[in-house]
Symmetry: C2
Subunit: 100 residues, 2 copies
């Protein structure tokens, strides 16, 4: 398995979610265009979990400092997030099941 | 940062979800009692994402082979899951934001 990385972004929103879903959609589209991007997974109930997968730590670092992404991160801290945690992880093993 | 591990379990359900939520609840409770368990995060929309955090690969391996958990895994493949992917990851870096 070629090694790759996961960025786990776990969060709780504030009550003020105006503009959030448009921004989240826009950031997913932008992330998908970055060099080294592999995949994106998202779900939200009480907790929001977004995981993006990347070929290298360099690609993650570059995406973190993208200007539009930086602006989104600032708005996230100012308006939308009560709490979040980011974990940068190296994927060491994987397996998959598909129903016939 | 003391190193630790994340198990990212991403899945799509079948249409047959009878008994699923009881089993998921029961497995979360059981996981929380295991040696080396750290935390558990879950959300589901189109995609279900469950992440459990563990102190070591040994703790993950032991949990994977727990008898009740093995039974749940079998039922998952027989009944509840259309697709799933498991990724075992080493958390290399983390940071957190909390609103004042």
């Amino acid at each position: 398995m070629k090694s790759y990385y996961a960025v786990i972004f776990t969060n709780k929103q504030t009550v003020n979610v105006e503009g959030y879903s448009e921004m989240a959609q826009s950031m997913e589209e932008l992330a998908r265009k970055q060099s080294g991007f592999i995949d994106f997974e998202h779900a939200r109930e009480e907790l929001g979990i977004t995981i993006s997968y990347w070929e290298s730590l360099e690609a993650i670092s570059k995406w973190k400092s993208d200007l539009k992404h930086l602006d989104a991160q600032e708005q996230g801290k100012d308006i939308w997030y009560q709490w979040y945690k980011v974990r940068i992880c190296k994927v060491e093993k994987e397996y998959e099941f598909k129903r016939d």
